[in-house]
Amino acid sequence: MLSRRSLLSGAAAGGAALTLGGGLRPAQAATLTIGFIYVGPKDDYGYNQAHAEAAAMLKKMPGVKIVEEEKVPETDDVEKTMESMIQLDGASLLFPTSFGYFDPYMLRTAKKYKKVQFRHCGGLWTDKDPMNTGSYFGYIGMGMYLNGIAAGYASKSKKLGFVAAKPIPQVLLNINSFTLGARSVNPGITTQVIFTGDWSMPVKEAEATNSLADQGVDVVTMHVDGPKVVVETAERRGMYVCGYHANQAALAPKGYLTGAEWNWITVYKMFLADAQGGKALPNFVRGGLAEGFVKMSPYGPAVSAEARKHIDAIKAEMMKGGFAVIKGPLKDNKGALVVPAGTAYPETAIQLESMNYLTEGVLGSIS
């Protein structure tokens, strides 16, 4: 069992052993120092902001000191950032929030600082990894399905657009969920997907959004690190837009329908309570809408009463648990049957984590 005090003194001792020169700040017994590391800017209206907002809430709680660092690349830089937080700031709990921080950087640092707790956002932890590490993640695909329903009601052209970073399983699940949500309203709807190739490509994201508008797409959504550019461009082009990661309503007061947001404060509060209560932190944590890991943005003015009713009803079903967006019979966009009739994958299904297809109704290809 780890108590907060032993965590801190352990971190201090570990730090002192490894620091040959000075520079170590004595850890204060009364406060728990937590380090947050972001891959991009804290105010990106997206992935990083979702974490930074939760960190800001955590900062207000008693007995906590938060140290933050933004724009840390997924290289050995992040190892040095973690070590610096441990050695110079006395951090005893670290949240490296970017997916690519996990292997080998966080694992390597965790082996070196066994008394410090590391919890990584991305859901990669297995029981072969060090016990002072762990991961947490949220099932946000359900939120994308609800986005899709909102888009299905709002679209007049029946053409939706999706600006995506890379064709990896997480992104494909979001594209497919969005499309299936929209097609549950009107089976004639299609989603044109454009891959930009990387997580933060503002110029390409703007080009992609503009080209979607030129093709007659009237509702757009995205899976990139910072949705700001897509949302602003969509608003300027008179399109509707569904948000992702954080609430972007302020960027598109007219066209913002709703959005699938992370609600990381639930997770961070839970870890904090365990650390302060002297309990061992869990190694593997996941949750969706029902667990409060994910939430929806408030409806924008363009969402009709009928759409709201429909979304609220589906959301209520999701909250009960067991709801499956990906269920058979399901064909991919080349006509092959990917999920046979009678098979359903709820959000927790492991099969969803190796998704390698676009469903029927998605225009675009993975390779």
């Binding site: 490894l18 040959l20 520079g23 290289t75 610096s84 890379k166």
Partner: protein, 371 residues
Amino acid sequence: MSATANSKATAAPAAVAGAVDRSYPARRTLEAVAAPLAALLLATAAFALFLLALGKSPADFFDLVWQGAFGSWFSLQNTLQRAAPLLLTALCVAIPAQLGLVIIGGEGAFVLGGLAAAVAALPLDGVWPPLVQLVMAAAGIAAGGAWIALTGLLRARRGVNETVASLVLAYIGIALFNHLVEGPLRDPSSLNKPSTWGIGDANMLGPLPGTDLHPGLLVGVIACLLCWLLIYRTATGFAARVTGGNLRAAQLQGLPVGRLIIAACALGGAFAGLGGMIEVAAVHGRANASLIAGYGYAGILIAFLARHNPLAIIPMAVLLGGIGAAGGLLQRRLGLPDATVVVLQGFIFVAILASETLYGRIAWFQPRGGR
């Protein structure tokens, strides 16, 4: 005429020489050190004003820069680790620069060198690790060298502007890298972060004894020293500098200008490719998007700051590494955004580049008397 005829020289006892100005080489070296140092001080002073305008204490700021970059063994290692890849990518700019070429596409050679190294290790499962590492290094050097040599070839044989060509080739190189890593060379188990297969723990380069630093630092320093010898102490280096000084004169002397251009580009690219190999073999263990971290571009700044002198690359890389290492601490302690250190870097770069104009302007540093 005696050197003492120069009024300022009376202050320098070393200058009281005969007709030959023996202390000139020493003064010339001093000039090369004094100019950037003065620029650094100026930039620091200007940045202090900027901080005051933001309502932050410059004293706190510089204290934290010291703590974060050099103040402890941990901080110093942090700085040196960040400097390591930059030593090699800066050479990719500095070597072709001897011929007057501005090559800015080192990033492409760096990532392709890393990819080639990772791929070269795959069929060698179970082979003696030092041999695997040697093959990896050779692959990285070959890929990086070939990539920049392509720019040299276009320049020498077709007169294509090497700056634009190398930049565009860097974009192509990165696109090729992404295509291969996300396609044919992808390890299918790397679901959400596409990567090649790992090179295996046994084949990883361990840290330098007694430190956390990977051998890239040592390789980089040795490479800089060797390049300095090549440029300033060999006939080939002299030929390259003649070409850079005056292309027509070099051609009239019958120097093989075309071959020199291609060779310098290949050598520069080889160092960048080796940098990529070390990044894979010492840090990542596989090739993936983490390699595209901008080291190739940071190398351009360092080479220009060092005035393309390989020896000066070492302190400049350490300076940049130190600013990077301190950046995190500044964010955490002063609540300054990450962009603050970029502003500081900007001040320093502008000041040091502007200090170029000081060379030859201060009489004390100039040759005196001699015939």
